[in-house]
């Protein structure tokens, strides 16, 4: 073994330096991004200054970023559960859309006292998103339809259904079908006094995050989801109720996505527009992938994503950069981090295997309690029967 490989293995075995490959991945991504910016004749410093100016420099800009961040974090919390269970819930976009539709159905057609109104709207948002996700889960376990295919179909259905509602039954008079009328004030989520932020959404998101953190770090259900994510068949053979867990993980993820959709229409927009989710479901998928399904990393990574996305429009207007470049930058980042995380995993596995080989190599195994050896002879010594 070369000295270089020895050093690599030593490094990877250290908990502190285990994140080195991740840092290398980020460095590689940054170099790639700099090359692209250079190709566009844009100074990286100018991009950084603009992002800072439009996102973090003023309190209202910071509030905007947080408002963008909360629904992403909420979706990520749900996706952490499904990803841990090995379920690629691609249908999260549809679940957000259906949550928004569910909330709108109450906001437009039901009139209740303020508190009851808000509760009913959010309940409907969660129920609609949850039902949409549960349906995908049921198709997975009962019909053998992969959740990716099911999710794509359900996204398509949700988008078509929302468009149908905007064109026909919920279309305002003399409108083009791009959005419903503005909701009554009674139906809109209350805002904080100083900043345009919804305290209800903040509480919901915080609760969801703590729930997911506790579930995945110490609960029996979290362990079962982890086992299913690594090998569903084996988990089933160990007595894990895999079908129930798939349904439950999808349902909870759908509820969280539905609530995120509810926030979009009940607070940010105050009406139901076409393409209400705006891609935050797919953005959440990227966040969870980039965080390697680690709960503690998700708030930071999702915040960074929210920050960069919030700066998308100024980049286009001020620096004449294509807004889609932000998506490309994030894609490069995710790609590089995933590659180097894979390298880290492989090194870690090797180290563990070598440690065990070294530990068992010199040891003598303890004698078995009662050894009954049959050395391959003809069956003259077989057990009696009858």
């Amino acid at each position: 073994m070369t000295a270089f490989r020895k050093i690599l293995i030593q490094i990877s075995s250290s908990t502190v330096l285990g994140i080195l490959p991740l840092l290398v991945g980020i460095q590689v991504a940054l170099v790639a991004i700099l090359l692209i910016l250079n190709n566009e004749n844009v100074e990286p410093r100018a991009v950084y200054d603009l992002i800072y100016e439009r996102t973090l420099s003023l309190p209202e800009n910071r509030a905007n970023v947080v408002d963008f961040w909360l629904p992403i974090l909420l979706c990520c919390c749900g996706l952490l559960l499904t990803f841990t269970a090995g379920l690629w819930n691609i249908g999260i976009e549809g679940q957000i859309t259906m949550g928004a539709v569910g909330a709108t159905s109450i906001a437009l057609f039901v009139e209740l006292p303020r508190n009851e109104q808000i509760f009913t709207e959010l309940f409907m948002a969660g129920a609609a998103g949850g039902a949409w996700a549960l349906f995908t889960g049921v198709m997975r376990t009962r019909g053998g339809v992969n959740e990716i295919f099911g999710g794509v179909a359900m996204n398509f259905l949700a988008s078509s259904f929302s468009s149908y509602l905007l064109v026909a039954p919920w279309s305002p008079p003399n409108a083009t079908g791009s959005a419903t009328v503005r909701f009554p004030e009674n139906a809109i989520l209350p805002s904080m006094d100083d900043y345009r932020l919804s305290p209800i959404t903040m509480y919901i998101t915080l609760t969801a995050f703590i729930f997911v953190l506790l579930t995945l770090s110490g609960s029996r259900w979290g362990l079962q989801l982890r086992a299913m994510g690594k090998n569903e068949k084996s988990a089933q053979m160990l007595g894990v109720p895999t079908e129930r867990n798939i349904w439950l993980a999808m349902l909870i993820c759908g509820i969280m996505a539905g609530l995120a959709g509810g926030h979009l229409v009940l607070f940010r927009r105050a009406n139901l527009p076409a393409n209400v989710s705006g891609g935050i479901g797919f953005l959440s998928l990227l966040v969870v992938l980039l965080a390697s399904i680690r709960v503690r990393w998700v708030p930071f990574v999702s915040f960074a994503f929210a920050l960069l996305y919030s700066a998308g429009l100024p980049l286009r207007t001020r620096l004449q950069l294509d807004a889609s470049l932000i998506g490309i930058f994030l894609g490069i980042l995710v790609f590089c981090v995933l590659i180097f995380d894979g390298v880290r995993q492989r090194l870690k596995e090797r180290v563990e295997q070598r440690k065990l080989l070294a530990a068992s190599g010199g040891e003598k195994s303890p004698p078995p309690p009662t050894v009954e050896i049959q050395i391959g002879q003809e069956a003259s010594s077989g057990p009696g029967s009858n």
């Binding site: 992969n146 982890r226 086992a227 690594k230 068992s360 195994s365 009954e372 069956a379």
Partner: protein
Amino acid sequence: MRLEIHNISKSFGPLKANDHISFTFEGGRIYAILGENGAGKSTLMKILSGYQSASSGQIIIDGKSAQINSPHHAIAHGIGMLYQDPLDFAPLTVLENYIEGKPFNFLMRRREAEADLLARCKILGFNLNPHAMVESLTVGERQQLEIVRLLSLGVSILILDEPTTGISAEQKSQLFQTLKNLAREQNMIVILVSHKLADVEELCDEVLVLRRGKLVGHRFLPCETEILVEMMFGKRLSQTSPQPLYTNKPILKIHKLSIPARLFTIQNINLEVREGEVIGLAGLDGSGQVEFMRVIAGIGRPTWADQLTAMIALAGMWWVFGKILDESSAVLNLARIAILILILGPMLKTLYLYIRQRANNAQNAQIMLNGKNIGWRGYRDLLERGIAYLAAGRLEEGLVAGLTLVDHSALAERSSLPHVNWVRAWHRTKQAITDFSIKGRPFSQIQTLSGGNQQRVSLSLLPANLRLILLENPTRGLDVESAGHIWSLLLNRRKKGTAIIFSSPDLDEIIDYSDRILVFSSGQTTLVENPEQMTTARLGELIGGKS
């Protein structure tokens, strides 16, 4: 032909898998490499066949030093390896597999290759249909194909890894005759890696024994079995026979069961399993033994509820599509059809499996556990009722790679508490490590353990009060000592009345440990009541269809 290895060493970190091994193999002779699990046999063979490179040492073939860095290099030097599970392509034909791996030609020249294949088969006494799909062949036929393929590539040193696993006695006899002919008539070197001492004694001229990476012995055969065992393990092993412990109380009754297997549909199976009884299932690979056990364990059976849900989902989706889509839009209709195909395909497959299952069991088939019909229950439900199943693929269906021993212990614990008591799980794991002689630590990831230790972990995770354990090839890939230990753990369970049904390609194992044997042959089953009067040859005949 002459193969010399000088001071071959291979290290994995501090562990020396091969430690300065030197030997000279002569043409025309058949050698056996023996050793317990982890002795370094596979590493040495992988070095010779190019899958791994040695840390140090030299390989000399016919007086010339050979650099072997890949299987391709090894074949160029005339070394070929036949694996326990032959490395072929199941969805291709025999001829296509034969052509694969040959020096590249833009045109495959099928006719020439077919003539060549048939000529070689004729010389070796094999009967392979060039146009048959490999997935329809038995393991024995696949081995024959691999031997012919390797010989066509000019191999003169043939290494065989556990070649008798999964083949019938008749196929084994034919394989051994072929190997003897190749050694004697073509002056080839044949090296056999095996755990089965009976095979070694029957086939080989010389035997090398490895222990902890070192070559600890060399003997000419015939030689006393006990001497070989002592060289392998460094001690003599006791040879005791398990005593029957069953009562006359039946726990499982199977009535008129029909099961579709890979090769045949097994018709009308009737069996009564008694408390504490061990029933061995014998038959060629794919004859239905595994499917039989899986049906009893409730694994992979579509139920009526699956169908109902699938149909409701399908109808609901069709209705929603019909409501919201514009019929005149070709693009939307295409998308609608594409998505329906994606969803319809798997659902129709499930429906087909269900209908086939119903058709096969149309005549009141029943599986009764302690007098109650369990025919439509799933595995988890049956596990609660005392039926457990251990598959042959330990890491595929049984244990979860990436989780530790403590994680497994916590997963297998039946508890209604929402949180895991990790301290208790750790104590249980430590206890299991001691009780089941597992070489591993509580926080070792399961995939880093050897096959034997993984199997011990699987057994330690089974609930205590089981009525029936179903096992697919319980000692797959294990050496004599590990296999003996696994069986001692299993047989101890009989004292509490647990019955055992197991399948194995090793006929000796079936005869030695079974109270009764159920033979699967050509879609029929035969129950052997007195295994003590059975020989492997006779059992092989029954498997082959001779009554």
